[in-house]
Amino acid sequence: MEKFKYVKPGMSKINAGMPSKFGLPVKQKIISGIDGIPVSALIEEYGSPLFVISEKTIRDVYGEAKRAFDTRYPKVQFAWSYKTNYLDAVCSIFHEEGSWAEVVSGFEFEKALSNGVNGSQILFNGPEKSRDDLIMAIENNACIHIDHFDELYLLIEITREIQKKARVAIRINLDAGIYPIWDRFGFNYENGEAWNAINRIMLAESLELIGLHTHIGTYIMAQAAYGIAASKLANLYMAIHRKFDYWLKYLDLGGGFASKNTLKGAYMPGSETCPSFDDYAEAISNALISSEIPHENLPVLFLETGRALIDDAGYLLTTVLANKRLNGGRRSMVIDAGVNLLFTSFWYNLGVFPTKEMDHAEETTIYGPLCMNIDVIRDAIVFPQVKTGDQLVIERVGAYNITQWMQFINYRPNVVLIDNDGKTHIIRKKESLATFKKVEFDPKRG
């Protein structure tokens, strides 16, 4: 006699007519494939866990952002924020789309050069620029964004020494109504420090001031803050013109646009609450166009948007290792991707989805495989019953994970790009023992 197909016994509590905590219906979303390629095929070929990047999504999202600004402001230039995701293959797509590079270290600077970016199209930010880094930046004609007075004086010293002019901007921190104010970076607007720095630079023969920069924070949910920031930069821009009869080339509003991820503690999903590129563009463009700046002298608007441009393009595919009932009765599961690969799981309630229809959704805790208590990917997510070996997809992980991941306990996994033609390419190879043998030395063994 033929036997019946077995289905794991399950039971779920009925919450009659109760909306979820978000007031939204709980409908299980499924991600069975990425850009037309089944998740199972990707894992079969490249292993699990696996980061997957969609070239199509990168270009689509970039196009959307570019259009939002281009239709509102005459001169816009994006500079790809390397720290957000500096895989060469990813940077190259942004550069192909026309992005310059925004870097914050000698390493990122070298990476941008090696990706074929012309030195004059590199914005060099951050408090960590060594003497050698600064010399490299000057030799390559980069835009050096000065962070503090010590750096300003070091630059004056170096440019005298090597007898070369440096093209510089200053980073400005300001009150845009966003708290906390990131006042540890750059020169303060409100207390006059920024104006002092500008005056000092204008007196330095070896420095050419070409722009003003600010970065008011990250995941900024209020577009109005950008309007305030842009107005303050516009005030300085006009003050420089009045005093020195000189027009700067650009105002750089930095990064910070929110991605569609949901912050921990938020009541509504990020996809419902974060402003669109149009909202940000409207706030910034309005502030600049309605400022005192004459239309024919409007500066180029630089943007260093990071997470909002790349989060959606990144997925982490993972496999269920085990199911457990915790003592309190809560269902939990262990997956093969831990917080060491998902730095952003500390900020976001990341979206984790099954790859096929499943039932018996229940509040579940999702743990990573590390032998540590902090390894929690989601502490409470309504999730269907899964089996060992089932594959899951974590979405919106394109930003800050592949740059901030930690090698711990296991090798870091493959990163695969799905190109515009639907072909897959390894763009960062899974580590192996050889990765470690290359950089480790044991004096006992010689």
């Binding site: 036997k3 019946f4 077995y6 016994p9 039971m11 779920s12 509590k13 009925i14 009932r325 009765g329």
Partner: protein, 87 residues
């Protein structure tokens, strides 16, 4: 382990616990398990019934069975005085 007196199980998979006021949906295999437990079958007997009927190996059954038992116990559908029950 036995199903508590306050629990009502309907044939379409609806379970109501009047002690806690909670109601539940069980899937068909879950319903079958619950009924077999209610009828007083022990682990070996339930295992034999399942292995006979379903395309299933004994380890998978054992794992799922104990997980299901933990779940219904958590929802106070069963009470288990002796922690070594079902061993």
């Amino acid at each position: 382990m036995k199903i508590t007196n306050e629990v009502r199980i309907s044939d379409n998979g609806f379970v109501f616990n009047s002690k806690t006021g909670d109601s539940f949906n069980v899937n068909p295999t879950g319903l079958e398990l619950t009924k077999l437990i209610a009828q007083g079958h022990d682990f070996d007997s339930i295992k034999n019934i399942f292995l006979e009927k379903y395309d299933l190996d004994d380890l998978t059954f054992e794992k799922d069975f104990y997980e299901f038992c933990a779940l219904i116990k958590h929802h106070q559908i069963t009470s288990q005085e002796d922690p070594l029950d079902f061993k």
